[in-house]
């Protein structure tokens, strides 16, 4: 008759056999509780983020840029923070923009984010951005490759037939919008800022060569895009939550602005921030919490390895 009692596990085996659900419970607690506290994490913005901020701040007030947006709610944690930072800067500098998307869900997500940033502005007695007059939605384009080629070579053909709806009016041709006043080619835009969570980053840099490119990408895309930044294919890069937090700090302190919290850069002169404005956002809210999650990951890796080491030692002892 087989022995029904199970042999007692050693400490090493126990450490390696922690129930999966217990890790999930601890993870949920660690990613929830810190959100209720206003924590601050010291931060040094990376050069790519500083260049992003410097370049977008160098766009003359009242001019226009092109915005590509290819994120949806699946990457809201990173991409929405990036979009809000970009919108806040553009609106404060009164820079007009036209946005296009290569994902069917993206145009609505952008409109919702613009509405949120406009609500912030109204609450602070600032002028909200009006559709058609201050920004234009060019909508969804199903073929990224063809559209990027067309934008680079013949912008008027690329956006021909597209309509957007002004306030209190029916749809109008986008070329009637003040955003497109005098526009004949993509060179009439100061730069292209792309917020993406997909491969449209490469599609864009392979095909749009006539204006500088700024990328805002998700964390998983940072290593790839770092190459494009290092080889000057893009002039600025905001990557993941770190990029959002960097930009929020840069909006608060500027670059080389004398003071106790100066963010230094040897590349840039003094670039002002927006002291006193609403600069904190999703980066400030999520970045401290991320550190708690990373702490759990490190503890879990250490626990598993210590467990494996002890179990191996035990097995060697048993064999001897």
């Amino acid at each position: 008759m087989a022995d029904a009692t199970t042999p007692e596990m050693s400490l090493g085996e126990k450490l390696q056999a922690l129930p999966k659900w217990s890790l999930y419970v601890v993870l949920v607690i660690l990613t929830s509780v810190p959100l209720f506290a206003k924590l601050e994490v010291p931060n040094k913005p990376v050069e790519a983020s500083i260049d992003f901020y410097g370049k977008i701040m160098a766009v003359p007030d009242g001019s226009r840029i092109l915005v590509g947006s290819d994120w949806t709610n699946s990457t809201r944690g990173e991409s929405k923070g990036e979009m809000k930072v970009l919108l806040r800067i553009l609106m404060r500098k009164n820079v007009k923009f036209a946005f296009y998307c290569f994902d069917p869900q993206a145009p609505q997500v952008v409109r919702d984010t613009i509405r949120e940033v406009n609500a912030e502005r109204i609450a602070r007695q600032e002028k909200p951005y009006r559709p058609f007059d201050d920004y234009v939605s060019l909508g969804y384009f199903p073929n990224a490759e063809g559209t990027c080629n067309a934008i680079n070579n013949n912008l008027l053909a690329a956006f021909s037939g597209k309509k957007d709806t002004p306030e209190n009016s029916g749809p109008k041709d986008v070329f009637e919008s003040p955003v497109f006043a005098g526009v004949k080619s993509v060179k009439d835009f100061q730069l292209l800022a792309l917020i993406t969570a997909s491969s449209t980053n490469t599609v864009t840099l392979e095909r749009i060569k006539k204006i500088p490119l700024l990328f805002m990408v998700t964390g998983v895309m940072v290593p790839e895009n770092q190459n494009y930044y290092a080889s000057n294919q893009i002039v600025g890069l905001a990557g993941g939550l770190k990029g959002v937090y960097d930009l929020e700090q840069l909006m608060e302190h500027g670059i080389n602005n004398p003071g106790p919290e100066m963010i230094p850069s040897s590349k840039w002169g003094v670039v002002p921030g927006f002291k006193g404005a609403l600069n904190s956002g999703m980066g400030t809210a999520y970045y401290p919490t991320l550190h708690f999650a990373l702490l759990l990951l490190i503890v879990a890796i250490l626990t598993g390895n210590v467990g494996m080491f002890l179990a191996k030692k035990q097995a060697k002892k048993g064999a001897a």
Partner: protein, 247 residues
């Protein structure tokens, strides 16, 4: 109960439902998964028509008339030829006529292939160019590259064209990494040279370090997405909507 509350509560239920698969496969998860798939497919179809086909194909094909019924914009009827070409793609489902589907696929492939040489160079050319770096310093006046802010353009150009020792060291690390990693992919002959063997081993180690850094970025992103969902549930829904407190 207002619309926002219903909408957000459904969002919370969907979030919890989709995460419930971590415990085990269950019907609650399946339900929300199918809701998501249905919504995404339906939304994509509508957007394809309202934001793309109608404005860039249908309206242009039909043209427009003014209030008196006369043509104000002439219709571009050649666009009608695009419909049968597109519809040919659906013959992929026919066993007898599926060769027809290869015509539009061939057109797309041809257009795509034609772009590839230029596209490849646009993507990798600047990176290859940027890989050729000086590894010897041209000035030892300063170990680090001096700051350029506030300097005259001539002075900035002079600093930028000088290789300082710290830059030379960085460039050496880059060049060694590049060459050793490339040597790891020399599969077409048997590597007998001890030096080359050591170089490929170094390349493999550096690749592993690179993959570790990439994996770290990936993990951070996944955590951020989880934190965002927790923020949605606890702050946006529970604190701001249920308890009516400021975020």
């Amino acid at each position: 109960m207002d619309y926002t509350f219903i909408k957000m509560t459904l969002g919370v239920l969907a979030t919890v439902g989709l995460y419930s698969v971590l415990y085990r496969e269950n019907k609650f998860y399946r339900f929300w998964e199918h809701v998501f798939l249905g919504l995404a497919s339906g939304w994509a179809l509508v957007i394809l028509w309202t934001e793309t086909l109608k404005s860039t194909w249908w309206d242009k094909m039909l043209g427009a008339t003014n209030n008196s019924g006369q043509a104000s914009v002439m219709g571009y009827w050649a666009y009608a030829a695009l419909l049968p070409i597109g519809m040919m793609g659906y013959f992929v489902f026919s066993k007898k006529h599926n060769w027809i589907s290869r015509i539009p696929i061939g057109i797309i492939l041809g257009m795509y292939s034609g772009q590839q040489i230029q596209v490849w160079w646009n993507r990798f050319g600047p990176q290859i160019d940027n890989s050729i770096k000086p590894i010897l310093p041209t000035s030892t006046a300063s170990f680090f590259k001096p700051g350029t802010s506030g300097l005259a353009p001539d002075a900035v150009a002079k600093i930028n064209s000088t290789v300082y020792p710290s830059q030379a060291i960085t460039n050496i690390i880059f060049v060694v990494t590049l060459l050793s990693v490339m040597s790891y992919f020399l599969f077409s002959f048997d590597i007998k040279s001890k030096m080359l063997k050591n170089t490929t081993t170094l390349g493999r180690w550096l690749l592993m370090i690179g993959f570790g850094a990439i994996f770290g970025s990936t993990v951070m992103m996944r955590f951020t997405l989880l934190i965002d969902r927790m923020y949605f549930i606890w702050i946006e829904w529970f604190k701001m909507l249920v308890l009516r407190q400021p975020g």
